[in-house]
Subunit: 741 residues, 2 copies
């Protein structure tokens, strides 16, 4: 057999080079097509009127999208689901003690901004999935309302039992705030936008600048997304017309207490009236007041009542059938629903995706046929809790588990640097894409610009050296907050989330001011980054759709998991060290000696030091993973070095194996207490919501001091890593035997 | 000779033990005497009316102090000097573009506060020693107005040439702000109190709480104190009636541009009207505005005109003649002048000092006679620039150089932790004092409380380990800002500065609200820390006055100098590393790639890397110092172990040598460009003013990139360290030979 190799190799090399050139050619043609003017026009059309779930213009947008895609010659359908979507009927926030003040709960129109006055179609300011309630209670300021804030409150001797808490937006997914508040005994929750976070502290406010004006309010869902996203009434299954539904009272993801959002104009009188201890420095915002904690003397009356309606939602789905591997799907999505006009969120992402799609349609007119099936999705109902994508993923779970190769998500766009989070088996792949995309401001590859920023921002010489020398820039891990969640966390489909940003700040998120006027004055005003996003995501789609061998690679993945393992070990070690040190300081009398007797202070009590845990199974599995990743890497290198082409049948089996590498990371039981989340490497944190917890089962068990669970989870993670290693090893062996043939 | 030792030793041991017991007994009796009620009464009397330099009540206070001390049976005199002291004739700050706004420049009376309404006697808000001027120019916000702020401005492409700068109080001695502004081409300077620094950001404002109200203004001197303190017209000599005086136009310490201070109510309209780049995050204060830099569009009209009068100042001097060593002086001081009523600053420090003095007078009535002469001083004219103490020190320079053992300073007092800065040859001594003083809030030694705080605040495990294990807590080095300056920096008299604080914040510094009402509502309200300060400083005075062998010790000093040497070496190394790294990033294109094209930005230019410098002379001198310190330490230990008492004549010579150990650290030429400052180990920074620069000649030369100077200064420092080593070595040898006798 070896004797025949040279000739075959030569022949295949020619074919490979030809195919590669042709591939490059299609990609280059593709990247020439997206046009900023068109993106601008799409955004303007899509954001012309409020288009939240259930609104007339939401449906109108879905239909317009479908019609447009069809006009481009694409096979398009609208898939509907019926989901629970509450909208406000009554909202009241008033200070009743020590003075009376009634919150406006209303964002005023701005004269220069043409869509800001569409009051009749705008959803009022509210937090979706807050339960109905009517409470009057003393107020307590809880900073961001995350668990560490309550630890501080404990040190200050402040309890929120029977109180209404007021938290500021930031530091966590907003749904965490009422969730933690309930655990601590609060009876109501207000969430406000502090000017320190996205108001005048950062720059001029709208309409003079991009930042949040005093009456601007962040709407948003407060559903318990880390428990499960999607329709609260149909966990785990698609919310089709005939799906079995929970009663509203049975839905575990609704809040337990009433919640409303506030502008800082509405929040200031409430906060200013608080007494009690002065808030710790990191808690203080930018209002011209002394931030105090309470409880009281401010007493607040909070009332929320919603229409608990079932609404139809409209996912727009485009299918481009694959010519060689029709049963391997590359899925691409961005939502189309907004809280109000939503020019930036989501229309700028959606419009870029539209331009990708138009460009692909153009390529097809020029003769291009993708080898794999490409599915483009415009999701509905992302804002209330990822409903469109989740219900679709649940409804098509079986088929997706078989066929889905990769899911690529976007969700709004801005100006600046490429941001990437995703599966680390795609890290090398997306780095290669980024090397071929040109930054419109600097005329250098977006990859290069990101690398230079990493050099600039490195906090240590080691980080800087890595930024300079590591072949690939590290990508973030996926938490939650957009439509990739069901794909990666529930179904184990390798996913990426892409977007540009970092240069244009702003404070119009989820307000009536997120509109075409704002975006074209303060963000990617000429939509050149819209084009860049279309080029980036579209190039990724084309490359994935046409690759002979799917471009997964596992050495970066294994190296990244090693970082995570080191992190959880260090987390435990730090907890041990901190507990020991704190116990020692308690014994020395440090806390009582240092405390100012005029300030409220409750000294900490000694705690038992966390035990040592058995990380060996995890470490052994990691060794296996690293070996299999190297093995696969070596095999691929041989192919590339030998410029060897493989027959389609071999590739089919090989690729099918590769697709399983991410599925292997799921555990059927899911995470402790939230079985919908099945990925053992990535998950949104139970108490972060957006923020990722890697090795979530292990990490959260340690954070929450559940030591037995931590060890049990270690074993589960080890198991999925071994399973993935076995898949990767199989792929490597197949590759090697194909080479030997 | 050895044969006689046992008997002699026994005899001397008995005497020593007896003497020690008696000593302890006097100390204990002393510490029982100071009474909070009396301290309260002194503060109330001293702060009853405004008593700035030249005011009627200032002279009245001096006379009352003298009369009181005389009544206590103490030898008291008033020493006067005649100094330049400008007071305001015209003050104007107005915004003329884009809108008109005239600053009030006036602190209103507060109804609950009885002395706040004494307007006719209050000095208006102003910065003393600002030259007269009348300028109208665009405004630029320069943060704290220190050199690194101007580096930032350069990166933002902002020049202050021809502009009026507005800086906030903080981060430096206020006189630095106009000094740097002039170097950068500014024509006027405003200094305001941002609520972020001492206003509502921290707590309730006066009269509801201790923090600065919106109209509160910090008065203060802006004389170029790091050039020389004291009367601007008589540098280096006492401002006696017949002293030779400079013309005002020749006085180099006056500002070069007009300067006025502002309240935040007055500053806000000026700042709010600024355009230009948004200020970097660390520059932003707590006003409810977007902090921008300018220049303009705000244009400001600033006018200052003063009465340039010569005023008589009154130092009150008490002498308690020493019974054994009358020509060894222990000097103790606190100023009595204030900007307005000055209850905290300086009366709380002064009142504690009065109670010390009363207690010493009591002891004398009971038969105590200090071995050394004790001189208690109530200085005038500290506020305008340390005039009372400096002129006195200059006038008595020759005698002080011969006789002064130690100077102990206080300047106002508060609640909380003992703060100590001073000569490190006194570190062990003052630690021992602190071990014997009881904290009134916690009933543990103030030393212990400080140690526990150091454990609590340690930033690294190493710092924490040191806090736990080092026998002595580290004391700070002396910069400037109070009356110790002439003693340590000009005359080389070992000094200490003491005060309690850290628990009571406040924003009344140098305003009309620093009065008895404020202090008794928000600070050390019952004056128990006033008593503690009297106990602390008084114990130090008694111990120094009565010690047979002066309690200098040099191992901590040598170890501390080693830290400083390491610091300046690291400073150079860091500068080298930073320059190399920045040059590399410039070559890589990092700065231009990362910059947002919509933001103003001037990329840095490559600079030559700082050369390596010869630190060997310094390091060799340090070895010598360390050896001599150990030598002396061993000798003292032998004395202590053998409980050996030394004859008075031996002690006299030995102590005279010890006194020289601090004098040896002076260099006759003084520091580069400021020959008045002669101490080679400690000095206020040329661009910090209050903040100390240790090894100032070397450190500032490196900071200012004067490499030749840096090496020259290294040699000078080496020389004084060798001189000090020789003194210490001589003392050790004398001690050893005394033991052998």
């Amino acid at each position: 057999m070896n004797l025949r190799l040279p000739l075959l190799a030569l022949l295949l090399t020619c074919l490979t080079v030809y195919a590669q050139n042709q591939q490059t050619d299609w990609e280059m043609r593709f990247r020439d097509i997206p046009a900023p003017d068109r993106i601008s026009a799409y955004v303007q059309r899509l954001s012309a009127r409020p288009h939240h779930v259930g609104s007339a213009y939401n449906k109108d947008n879905a239909e317009w999208l479908a019609t447009t895609f069809k006009q481009w010659g694409l096979e398009t359908r609208i898939e509907t689901f019926d989901v629970l979507f509450p909208t406000p009927k009554e909202r009241l926030v008033e200070l009743v003690v020590p003075t009376r003040f009634r919150a406006a709960l209303q964002e005023p129109a701005v004269s220069v901004d043409p869509t800001s006055g569409q009051h009749s179609e705008q959803l009022p300011t509210y937090n979706a999935y807050s339960i109905d309630g009517d409470v009057t209670a003393p107020l307590v300021y809880v900073n961001y309302g995350i668990p560490e804030d309550y630890e501080q409150l404990e040190r200050l001797g402040v309890s929120v039992k029977g109180c209404i808490v007021i938290a500021r937006y930031g530091a966590s997914w907003r749904g965490i705030k009422p969730k933690v508040a309930v655990e601590k005994g609060a009876v109501g929750c207000l969430i406000y936008s502090d000017p320190r976070n996205d108001g005048y502290y950062h720059g001029d406010v709208f309409p003079r600048g991009p930042w949040r004006p005093k009456d601007g309010v962040q709407r948003g869902s407060v559903v318990d997304m880390p428990l499960y996203p999607g329709d609260p009434l149909t966990p785990g299954v698609g919310a089709t017309a005939n799906a079995e539904r929970l009663e509203i009272s049975e839905a575990k993801t609704l809040t337990k207490i009433p919640v409303l959002p506030l502008s800082y104009a509405d929040a200031q009188p409430l906060l200013a009236a608080l007494g009690g201890p002065v808030a710790p420095e990191p808690w203080r915002g930018a209002l011209p007041i002394t931030y105090k904690i309470g409880p009281g003397p401010s007493k607040v009356h909070l009332k929320v009542k919603s229409n608990w309606d079932i609404e139809t939602i409209y996912n727009v789905i485009v299918t481009i059938a694959g010519s060689v591997y029709p049963d391997e799907w590359i899925i691409r999505g961005n939502h189309h629903d907004a809280w109000v006009n939503g020019a930036q969120d989501p229309c700028t992402g959606l419009a870029a995706q539209m331009e990708e799609l138009r460009a692909l349609a153009e390529l097809m007119k020029q003769g291009w046929r993708p080898k794999r099936t490409i599915i483009y999705c415009a999701w509905d109902a992302e804002e209330p809790g990822l409903l469109g994508s989740t219900e679709w993923a649940e409804a098509h779970a079986d088929e997706l588990k078989q066929k889905a190769v990769v899911y690529i998500n976007t969700d709004s766009n801005g100006r600046g640097f490429l941001g990437v989070e995703g599966s680390h088996s795609l890290e090398e792949f997306i780095n290669n894409v980024a090397r071929d995309i040109i930054d419109p401001e600097k005329n250098i590859p977006v990859w290069k610009r990101s690398q230079l920023r990493q050099i600039a921002n490195a906090r240590t010489p080691e980080e800087r050296a890595e930024a300079r020398s590591r072949p690939d820039l590290r990508i973030g891990a996926l938490g939650s907050g957009s439509d990739y969640t069901a794909f990666i966390d529930h179904l184990g489909i390798a996913s990426l989330n892409l977007g540009y940003g970092g240069e244009d700040g702003g404070g119009i998120y989820h307000s009536i001011y997120d509109d075409f006027y704002w975006y074209t004055h303060f963000a990617d005003t000429d939509f050149t980054y819209g084009r860049t996003l279309a080029q980036t995501a579209g190039t990724a789609v084309i490359r994935l759709a046409d690759a002979d061998l799917l471009p997964f690679s596992f050495t970066n993945f294994a190296e990244t998991v090693r970082l995570y393992v080191d992190e959880v070990k260090r987390l435990l070690k730090n907890l041990q060290d901190e507990t020991k040190e704190r116990n020692r300081q308690i014994a020395e009398g440090v806390f009582t000696a240092v405390a100012d007797p005029k300030d409220p202070f409750v000294p900490p009590v000694a705690e038992s030091v966390p035990p040592h845990l058995n990380f060996a199974p995890l470490e052994n599995a990691l060794e296996t993973l690293t070996k299999s990743a190297d093995h696969y890497n070596q095999a691929v290198k041989k192919i590339q070095k030998g410029k060897i082409s493989l027959p389609a049948e071999v590739l089919r089996t090989l690729n099918a194996t590769l697709i399983q590498s991410e599925r292997a990371l799921l555990s059927a039981e899911g995470l402790p207490g939230r079985p919908w989340f099945k990925h053992m490497i990535y998950a949104p944190g139970s108490y972060t919501g957006y923020g990722v917890k890697t090795l979530p089962g292990v990490r959260e068990a340690i954070e929450q001091k559940r030591w037995n669970d931590a060890e049990a989870q270690t074993i589960r993670v080890a198991r999925v890593l071994e399973e993935a290693s076995s898949v990767i090893h199989t792929a490597a062996t197949r590759l090697e035997s194909a080479v030997r043939r």
